[in-house]
Amino acid sequence: MPKTLTKTLTPAGTLYRGREGQWSWVAHRITGVVIFFFLLVHVLDTSLVRVSPEAYDAVIASYKNPIMGLGELGLVAAIVFHAFNGIRVILVDFWKKGPKYHRQMLWGVVGLWAVVMIAFSIRHLTHVFGG
């Protein structure tokens, strides 16, 4: 058997092809689940404004520490990725050339995400670590 043929053989019997498409899908699912569970807690703690100003301020004060600050950074990172990748999914589905350029669009998503997160990290960590 010629060497070139053995190299091009792909595993059969699976739809999972790896690479940018599958991994962006995995990241979209994980970030989506994380954001959803945060959202449940976010509505519950914000609802304390209806109990009393002291109850709300008490729970917010318990969030004002470096561990929660880093958690907020991670949450925003998940939201920004989910948002940009979501726009990519919309373009793949509705733009004629979307499927052709889905890989390039993922690197655009990652690049934009990095720029936004660098800017946000500076701003947010300044507040968290008392700037």
Partner: protein
């Protein structure tokens, strides 16, 4: 050689693993798919402004307290903004989790239980959040004691 007979797909016996509910759900899945894209596009705008106003502008996260929330909800624009955010994000998130449950929970009973818990949580959170936005009082009187703030009338 006789011509092989190829049956119409699924005309014969279908393996039990593939036999889920046979009732037609009409266009539901297509509407759900479309809703994810429409609500997603709107949510990008709603959430990015929400994050900017709460975490970037002014004192950022350090500035968040009861007075900050009261100041925002004194403006009907932010009430409608947050109400839309609550409903769209909860429906978008609930449908996302529904799809994930359908993907990974193979037993009918497991799917039913997980989706039951999911829909219960969704209704509770959406109803609670809506009530809080509409019944919010920036200057509450609790046990006869009026809340003191510069935006509240002197007791």
């Amino acid at each position: 050689m006789a011509t092989p007979i190829i049956e119409t797909p699924r005309s014969g016996r279908v393996a039990p693993g593939y036999s889920r509910s046979s009732t037609s759900r009409g266009n539901f899945e297509m509407i759900a798919w479309l809703f994810m894209r429409l609500s997603g596009a709107i949510l990008v705008v709603l959430i990015f402004v929400h994050l900017y106003v709460n975490l970037v502008a002014g004192d950022g996260i350090s500035g968040i307290d009861f007075g900050f929330v009261a100041g925002k909800w004194a403006d009907p624009v932010w009430q409608i903004w947050d109400l839309t955010l609550l409903w769209l994000s909860m429906l978008h998130g609930t449908n996302g989790i529904r799809v994930i449950i359908n993907d990974y929970a193979e037993k009918n009973s497991t799917r039913m239980i997980l989706k039951g818990v999911l829909y219960t949580a969704t209704v509770v959170i959406v109803v609670l959040g809506t009530l809080v936005i509409f019944t919010f009082d920036p200057c509450p009187v609790i046990d006869g004691v009026a809340h003191v703030a510069d935006y509240c009338p002197a007791p």
